[in-house]
Subunit: 272 residues, 2 copies
Amino acid sequence: MKRSERLVAMTHFILDRPRELISLPFFSEKYDAAKSSISEDLGIINKMFQHEGIGYLESVSGASGGVKYIPAFSKEYSEEFVHQLCRRLEDPERLLPGGYLFMSDILGDPEATRSIGRLFASAFRDRDIDAIITVATKGIPLAYAVASYLNVPVVIARRDPKVTEGSTLSINYVSGSTRKIQTMVLTKRSLKEGSKVCIIDDFMKAGGTISGMKNLLHEFNAEVVGIGVLAEAEDEDEERVVDDYISLVQILNADDRKGSIEVIPGNLLNYL
Amino acid sequence: MKRSERLVAMTHFILDRPRELISLPFFSEKYDAAKSSISEDLGIINKMFQHEGIGYLESVSGASGGVKYIPAFSKEYSEEFVHQLCRRLEDPERLLPGGYLFMSDILGDPEATRSIGRLFASAFRDRDIDAIITVATKGIPLAYAVASYLNVPVVIARRDPKVTEGSTLSINYVSGSTRKIQTMVLTKRSLKEGSKVCIIDDFMKAGGTISGMKNLLHEFNAEVVGIGVLAEAEDEDEERVVDDYISLVQILNADDRKGSIEVIPGNLLNYL
């Protein structure tokens, strides 16, 4: 195989396996090339990934060493993406009663969710994460997008137990905005005890749902190592019950009667 | 930029944009290279994608021509993947009351869902699809995986309307297995009238849920151009109400009392 051909194959192989340690001897055998050639190839790939702003190859030295592809958007690309998203969301047509925002078109767009996932994965890249958790329904695509770049499984909490999932653990929590008592359940065998978990959701107002997920994780003796929300909005009546989180955008002054809304970047850009 | 560097950048660019037409002049300008060089590069990439069994570049000729990356797993890889999945599912520990199977670990694994998505995208590659639809919750990751390889949006029907989504259209349907009347809703602005839609779900027994989605799509004047389910299972009591579908695996003789189960490949492999 020529170098040019090998580079195409290796680029695909590496992109498909983020954060997975791949050894030089493995590549050397797979593509029937000398370790020195593979090493040069990896240098070219690393250089170009950085040039394209999609991350870098991390070298792990030692006998069991190799490289890991760490997906990370460049700050420049990230800023552009977040500002575009703000403009896209800042459309009075999106306003729904209660200060909510219609975002299903963005959440339904695989390219947008992939980019959002890569941004969160960039922000969380130095944290030790075993799994992503979200609660059904709208956070699910984001949770998968983040998980696929961090290369960890997703667990999905539900608001109702389902017969087809086996035994579950359930908690009650108070919804921050409506002050109603709600239930959240998680299938027992979906999460190992002691896991380090990152919470992902699409929207946070007072933070009741995220606080519910934190309580649920506490029951599983799991540790919350990160919280990421696509959009955070103010809640006039309630103080927020969650404070340590990363948000992509912040919704200000949403008023469906006046038809006014302002969307600004959240704190995610500070983590890149 | 050297050819070796350009090949890494182009491989990533193309993989990130399945089924999107990219013109030669675009590449030529982006990478500051002659069209003849770009053309050779695309030849190498096409050859290697086929060699790696991940699809091919389709050439579109004419003034607005260029190339499109069509993701398609090779038959060899697909067979291996499906057989492995059967063995993984054929574990009596997965049996749940009512002949259901615990699959949340597989659905929660982004690598497995991506591969399943690529398999369905391969099977549906020649159909004209505008959007993927699924019903919350467990089919969602599969729907996104298929959608990301077909490069189309996902719309999610729910069993309960949600205040944060705007006006919805709802239908009642009869669950095939339990014979209960159920409701399914879809936000009005989530799907354009006349769309060509592919239905994706994780599990099908009598087919009531899928039949419900078909009725819902009918209300949107949408056309069902494909149906894909991860696992189909027999229903002793009911005749299946859906017939034209593609399944990845087929569950036979699931009996949680005897602890017996058999899982064999579905009909998807015939479509590759």
